[in-house]
Each structure stands twice: as C-alpha cells, then as structure tokens.
Amino acid sequence: MRQCEAVRSRETQRLRWRSRRGLLELDIVLGRFWAGCGEELDESEAGSLARLLAMPDNDLLDLVMGRKPCPDPALLPLLQRLKAA
C-alpha cells in the first residue's frame, strides 16, 4: 500500500514537472490548475493529464482555448478543469 502511494506520488511529481511547457500560455493555465486542486488527482485524472501533456504545445493550447474540439471524450472532464483554471 505504502509503495503504491509512493509510486503515485512520483507520478504526480512527474506530471507536475511536465506541466513546464514551451508556451507561456500553457505554463500559466497549468500553474493555476496545480495551485487549485492538482495534487488531488485520482488515477484516471492523472492518466488524462498525462495524455494531454504528451500533446504538442500548440495542439494543447488550441484545446485549452476552445479553438479546436476535444479529440477524445475520455479527456473532456480533465480538459474542462484546465479550461476553468
């Protein structure tokens, strides 16, 4: 159990660092997200965030700014949280 938490914490820390981006706009949005409730990600939210963070910066920014529709309904809940941040 303890080991499991440690792994989860490491994954959260990794996602936190990967929220450092090449575009300032994303740094700001992701910074607000983490300052809000980022630390309390459940496993599925962490998975969604990992997938969003793996996208190229321009594509992710288009999603966050609502310029393009979300390509996968599974990502929508977390994307909504990013948009609201």
Partner: protein, 588 residues
C-alpha cells in the same frame, strides 16, 4: 565521493533550435553526442516562434544577403559585429534549404519554391523598399522546426538526456572546458558529463522580468553557469520589449488591437498618447508607445491598486468588430486578464520578449573572452549558440525573423567548429581535475541543508519586480541606481533559499531553487550593465542620455560576476568580404 562520469565527444545543453541543429552536425559526423534538456526537446521555447526565418532566397522577387546584412546592422543600431552578421546573412539561404530538405513543411509558392512573407525592417537595396524574406510554416514555424530537427537527430543517433538539468561548467586549471555536471530529475542523481567540446544552447533568460512573454523554463541556465565559471556576459542591457503584454501574465496582445482603434488610457482615463505623439497617437512606433507607457507608470499615473499598468480600451469598437477583426482577443483577455474586453479595458504593460546579449562568442560559435591582451581569446572546448550566445548578430536590437535564422546558422556553425576541435584533439579525453564537480555537490548540499532560509518564489518575485520597475523598457537614472542596490541585496536572499520538500524525485521546488541561482546572475548582469551604459541605443533607452553616443559607447559591455566588474570591447565594424556599413542615424 567522486561523481559518476559519462564520457562523450560532445555535450550540448539545451534542445531548442540551436542545440538540435548543432547536435545534428556532430552526430552526422559520426561523433558521440549527448543532448541534455530540462524538458522534452519539442517543448523547448523555440516552439513559440511564429514569425518565420529570415533568409534572402529571392523567391518573391530580387533579394540579396547583402541587403539582409544591411537591415540586420541597421536593426542592431550598429552594435552588431559585422563579420558575424555577414556570416549569418550569407549562410541563411543554405540552412533554410537544408531544413527544407530535412522535411520542414514550409509554406510554398505555386511553382513549389518556399513562400516568403513580408516582415517589418526587411528591405531591398539597402533600405529602398520592403522585401518578402520570411520563410514560415503557417503560424507554427518554431514548432515545425523543432519536430523536423528532433526527428533528424533520432535518425542520426544523438543521445538525448531528457529531464536533466545542467548545474555547472567543469573547467581545467588552464580554463579549458571539460564538460558539465547535471542532475537527473527522476532520481536526483548528479552526474559529470565529460566531453571534448561543450555547447550551451540554453535559450534566453526572459523570466528575469515580471512581465515576460517567455515560458517558465527560460531562466538563463547557461548564463548562470557561465558567470559562475568566470566567463563574462556580453551586452546584457539590451532586451527587446513588446508594448502590450497582459499585466501580470505576459501573454501578448497583438498590436493589431491598436491598429483597429484600441486606445491606451492611464488611471485617470486620459488618452495619454495624444500628449506624447499628437499625430500618430496610439499608432506611434513601438518604442514611442512603450516609452510613454513607462513614463505614465513612473509618474504615478498607472492603473490598478499598485499603479503598475496601463489600460487598453477597445469596448468602443463593439463586440461585432472585435470578434470579426481581432479573432481570439476576447478569449485571450478573458483567460489571462479576466476581463471581457467588449466591456472593460485590458490591463497591459511593456513586456520583455528577447535577450540580445549573452555568452560572448565569435561567428564560429566559440566562446571568446579577453585574455593576455587579446579581447577575443577562445576558451578551449566551450561554445554557445542561439539566444544564450552573443556573436554579436543582434547588437542593440534584433531584426524580426532573425532569431530563427540565428538558431540555424549559429547552431550549425558551432557544430562545425566542435567537429573540427574534436577531430584535432584525437581520441583521448583530457583528465578531469581533482575535485571536479564538487562545486555542484556543495551547492546542492547548501540548498538541502538550509534552515530558516528564504522562500524561492518570494525571492524570484522580488527580483522580477525589481527588474521590471527599475530596468524596464524605458530607463531612468535614479531608478537604475536604486535597482543596482536592490539587486545586489537580493543576492543575499538567493544564497539562502530553502525548499520544504526534501524528496529527490521530480522535486520541482528544488529545480526552481537551482534555476533561481541562474536567473539571478542574468538579472544582475542586466541591471549593472544598463546602469553603466550612458546613452540610448537600440532597445536600451535612457531618459537622461536620450541619444546614441558613438564617440563613447560604440562598444560591447562585458559583465563579470566577480565584483560586478565591467569591461568593454570594440564592435567589429569590418565584415568578412564587403565594405563596412558605417554608422548613421537609425530611421525607418
């Protein structure tokens, strides 16, 4: 305990445009290359570049590298070195076509040639008329460039160390650079990367200002490492600003807003540009608008609770015009300024964008410092390229599109120089000195053991506010003098930073403390160099010396960390093959 050592022919710090271009040159030569990057290469800040690559291909009409050279020198306000500028402009077409052959998806003309856009400051026949010189891939030029170069590097078997942060330069007793120490974020392990040639391609340090368009990764890591190793920083007083970034965020509001009728107001609701530029008003040139905004703020007429910004009003245009002519502006204002600009004004402030100065190099990308009477003595084994380097191509102000040209040309040039250097020095790596890497270990031990220390974010915030208020787009003598004192005092806080989280695994707080060490050196270099330069040239604009002074100041600043010492070196006005372009008034 000695640090673990990894050995390579070349180590490159930074995987943006210049680092990737240099790495490709080395890997294609069959050498063993390590590229270290804090973030995945395609998420480097080069991704933010939209404007294009300037190169005199002549695809849209007659053009010549010599005209490009003239525009670059004029843009630099004659502080650029003319040998480096000739080199870049002559090589630009070659590196662009090479990139096209690597697979870069440039926009094209009907005949299949690369399409070229017009861009401010680019002219035909030495200032006679505008010319189309900018090569783009839609509005994603930087993004496409990173992807193209990254893929080519994978093919060439460049070894990437992603999510590694370089800590310090390793030098021999004679000054030769032997590599860097670096921290692996996932494990917290520190490793010494030993190499025959080391390139810094770490980008700019735009985060030194409170209002900056730069991504958070742009903390000037290469500048900090160089300064700590005794290398001077050149021309750090020269920073390009954009008049309208969202206050507190830095996100740019396009100048098209003023073009469409948006106006700037001070806290009293006065359209102050009528006083500064009665004819052009809000459509005056960038520097005039920025200067007026800074003056209003300095004189206490800034808006907001801290009287620190200006209001950009466009609600009078009506929502239909805003949506039609300025698409995306409402979303940007809402997201980053929390205002509906169809109803309320956007808080804006002059915002830092690009660093003209950096680690001094020649046009071969070799780092050069004054030594033994030679103002440009090569530091063996050490190279710099891209925004962190200063060749100096941009001088006192950069011409639009030349940042990407610089990345490609100087990245390739540094790579070629490194190949020559490595081949000339045979198979053996020079011995590491005793205690190599100890400085980094000590720096980490200090940070990890600090008690009752300073909060990293609070210290960073103080530095950024000090730079913005005392060394911004328009510079006042009293503010500069106070700024030097404040920034020196902040050094004591930087030396006592503390992080609450002691974990070694992806410890973002710990990384930010290490970044702050670097950011501070860049900020201090900027403030001290700006206070000392008593003239106005290019982007360095002083209230008390409001003209260029070639008799006194046609020279490069060199700032040394040790005692804030300043030296100066002559500008190279002699190109490689053509006649010098003599200084004259810079009027557009």
């Amino acid at each position: 305990m000695p640090l673990p050592v990894r050995r390579f022919d070349a180590v490159i710090v930074g995987a943006g445009g210049s680092g990737l271009r240099a790495a490709l040159e080395l890997s294609n030569a069959g050498l063993k290359v390590a590229v270290l990057s804090k973030v995945f290469p395609t998420r480097s800040h080069t991704v933010a570049a939209q404007g294009g690559v300037g190169a005199a291909l002549g695809n849209m009409g007659e053009d010549s590298w010599h005209w490009h050279m003239y525009d670059t020198i004029k843009g630099s306000d004659w502080l650029g070195d003319q040998d480096a500028i000739e080199f870049m402009c002559r090589m630009a077409p070659e590196v662009v076509i090479e990139l096209e052959h690597f697979g870069m998806p440039f926009d094209r003309n009907d005949d299949g040639t690369v399409y070229q856009r017009p861009f401010g400051g680019h002219s035909a026949n030495f200032g006679e008329k505008p010319v189309q010189r900018s090569c783009c891939a839609a509005d994603r030029t930087g993004h496409a460039m990173l992807h193209t170069l990254y893929q080519r590097n994978v093919l060439a078997r460049t070894q990437f160390f992603v999510e590694w942060m370089a800590l310090d330069l390793v030098r021999a007793a004679d000054g030769t650079v032997l590599g860097v120490t670096a921290l692996e974020m996932e494990t917290g392990e520190v490793v010494l990367f030993q190499a025959k040639a080391t390139l810094f391609a770490t980008g700019g340090s735009g985060r030194i200002f409170a209002s900056s368009t730069n991504a958070f990764i742009n903390t000037g890591d290469g500048l900090g490492m160089a300064a700590r190793a005794g290398i001077p920083l050149e021309d750090m007083e020269f920073w390009q600003f954009h008049p309208t970034g969202v206050a507190g965020a830095g996100v740019l509001i396009t100048e098209g807003v003023r073009g469409e009728g948006g106006i700037l107001l001070n806290k009293d609701g006065e359209r102050f540009m009528e006083r500064y530029a009665p004819t052009m008003k809000d459509l005056a040139s960038r520097d005039v608008v920025s200067r007026a905004m800074a003056t209003e703020i300095k004189d206490g007429r800034g808006a907001g609770p801290n009287a620190d910004h200006i209001l950009l009003k466009l609600d009078h245009l009506g929502p239909e015009v805003i949506d039609k002519r300025l698409p995306g502006i409402r979303e940007i204002a809402l997201k980053f300024a929390n205002v509906d600009c169809a109803k309320d004004p956007i808080p804006v402030v002059p915002t830092c964008h690009y660093q003209m100065g950096g680690i001094p190099t020649n046009y071969r990308g070799e780092v050069v410092v004054p030594a033994g009477g030679n103002p440009a003595s090569v530091v063996p084994g050490f190279y710099a390229a891209g925004e962190c380097g200063c060749a100096s191509i941009h001088g006192a102000n950069r011409l639009g599109t030349n940042s990407l040209t610089d990345l490609l040309v100087m990245g390739k040039s540094a790579g070629m120089s490194m190949v020559d250097h490595i081949r000339a020095h045979g198979a053996a790596l020079p011995d590491l000195p005793k205690g190599a890497g100890e400085a980094s270990v000590a720096r980490l031990a200090r940070l990890d053991g600090q008690k009752g220390g300073e909060d990293v974010a609070a210290v960073r915030d103080e530095i950024q506010r000090t730079m913005q208020a005392h060394c911004g787009v328009f510079r006042f003598p009293d503010l500069l003098r106070q700024g030097v004192e404040k920034i020196r005092a902040a050094g004591e806080r930087v030396a006592r930073t503390q992080v609450g989280d002691r974990s070694k695994v992806f410890n973002t707080a710990r990384i930010e403390a290490l970044e702050l060490d670097n950011l501070y050196e860049a900020a201090r270099a900027t403030m001290v160099s700006a206070e000392a330069r008593k003239e106005t040239r290019g982007a360095h604009d002083r209230e008390d010396f409001h003209a260029r002074d070639d008799a006194q100041w046609l020279k490069h600043t060199l700032w040394y960390r040790d005692g804030d010492r300043l030296e100066y070196k002559a500008v190279n006005l002699k190109p490689l093959t053509v006649e010098s372009i003599e200084p004259k008034a810079r009027v557009y």
